[in-house]
Symmetry: C2
Subunit: 206 residues, 2 copies
C-alpha cells in the first residue's frame, strides 16, 4: 500500500496543490491513497478557494510520502512552532518533498541541514537564512528528500514520487498525459490514456 | 473592466480548472474579475474535490471571456439541452475558449461549425462527430474562439486571454512565473515576480 500526504495550510498557492493532486490521482495501482491534510477541516487558498481537508496533519507521520505545497502561508507556518511540532517525519523511511516556498517548511523542520535545495525565486533569501545552499535548478533530490522550484517543476517532483512508489511506466504515462497536444501528447496516445481513467482500485481516496 | 468566466460542472478535471484559475488571478490590472460559474452552488471534480461556485452560468453571457473546462462531465453536458440553452454567447464580442474536452461544449453550442479545432486525444472522435475538423495542435484560434488540447496547453489559451484583455507584458510575466526554476524562470526574476503578489486592485474576485 502507498499512502501519500499532501500538506496544505491557509494562503496556499492553488496550482501547487492541484497539479500534484491531479497527477497523483491518475495512478491506478492497488491501494494507492492520496490525501490532502491540514490543521483545519477546511483551508483557504491565496485566491480564496476553500478546500475540505481529508485528514489531520499528524497522518503525514505514517505516510509513505509527504509533500508540502507552497504559497504566502508558508511564511506563517515556518515560524509556527506548535504546527511544526506535530510533524515527526523520517527521511530514512518516507519520501519527503516540497514545491516552491514549501522548501521553507522542510528547512524549518530541520530536513535540509547541510543539503543543497531549490525554491521559488522570491523565497531564495528566506531559505538561505536557514543555512541552506540554494541552487538554480528545477529539482534537487538527496536520498528521500527533494525540493522543486517553479510550479511546473511539480512534474519532476511528482514524477520522482510515482517512479519510486509505483513505477517508471506510470510516471512516463502520467507526465505525458498533461503535455500539450502535438508537443509530447499525440492523438495516437488515446487508447493508452484510458488506463488513467479506469475505475479506481480499492482504497483510492475520495 | 474585464470579466472572465470559467464554467465548471460535476466531474471536471481539477488541473483544467485550477491552472487557468491561478494564472488568471495573477493579473494585477484594475477591475479584473475572474469568476467560477456553475449550475449548482457547489460542483464536484472527477477526483471528488467540492468547489463553491461564485455565480450562475448565465453570468457567462455578459462576460468578456468565457472558458470551458474539461473532464468526464463534458459527456453529460454536451447533450444536456436545458444546460446548453442557458448560454447566449456572442463570438463577435466575447473571447470564448476551451481546454481539452471542453471543446465538446463549444461544439454543442454551435461555436465550432466549419472550424478546425483541437481537443484531448480521448475525445477526438466525439468532437469529430459534431462535424469539426480536429487538428493535432496544442492551440487553435479563429477570431475570438479558441480551443486548446492537453492540460499544459492552458498556457497558450490563458496567454491568449491575458494578451487580449490585459497586455503582452502581463502574459509574458505570468507564463514565466510558473516555469521550472532554471528552465524559463530564474532567481534574478524575483523582484519582477512581486508584481504578481501585489495587493489586489478593486473588483478582484473572492
Amino acid at each position: 500500500m502507498s499512502k501519500i500526504a499532501i500538506v496544505i495550510f491557509d494562503k496556499f498557492t492553488d496550482i501547487d496543490l492541484f497539479l500534484m493532486w491531479d497527477l497523483l490521482n491518475r495512478v491506478r495501482v492497488e491501494d494507492w491513497e492520496v490525501k490532502i491534510l491540514g490543521e483545519n477541516e477546511r483551508q483557504v487558498s491565496a485566491t480564496g478557494i476553500s478546500i475540505a481537508t481529508q485528514g489531520i496533519i499528524e497522518e503525514a507521520n505514517s505516510s509513505d510520502a509527504v509533500l508540502f505545497v507552497s504559497g504566502q502561508g508558508t511564511r506563517a507556518k515556518m515560524i509556527d512552532k506548535d504546527w511544526l511540532s506535530r510533524f515527526r517525519l523520517n527521511s530514512e523511511k518516507q519520501f519527503i518533498g516540497s514545491i516552491c516556498s514549501g522548501s521553507l517548511l522542510l528547512a524549518a523542520l530541520g530536513l535540509l541541514e547541510g543539503k543543497m535545495a531549490t525554491t521559488y525565486p522570491t523565497t531564495k533569501t528566506a531559505l538561505e537564512s536557514f543555512g541552506v545552499e540554494v541552487v538554480e535548478k528545477p529539482f534537487v533530490a538527496h536520498g528521500r528528500i527533494a525540493t522543486a522550484g517553479g510550479c511546473l517543476a511539480q512534474q519532476y517532483l511528482i514524477g520522482w514520487i510515482i517512479e519510486n512508489l509505483a513505477d517508471k511506466d506510470w510516471r512516463d504515462l502520467i507526465l505525458k498525459s498533461i503535455q500539450p497536444v502535438g508537443e509530447g501528447l499525440f492523438f495516437e496516445d488515446a487508447e493508452n490514456l484510458t488506463r488513467l481513467y479506469a475505475p479506481l482500485p480499492k482504497a483510492q481516496t475520495v
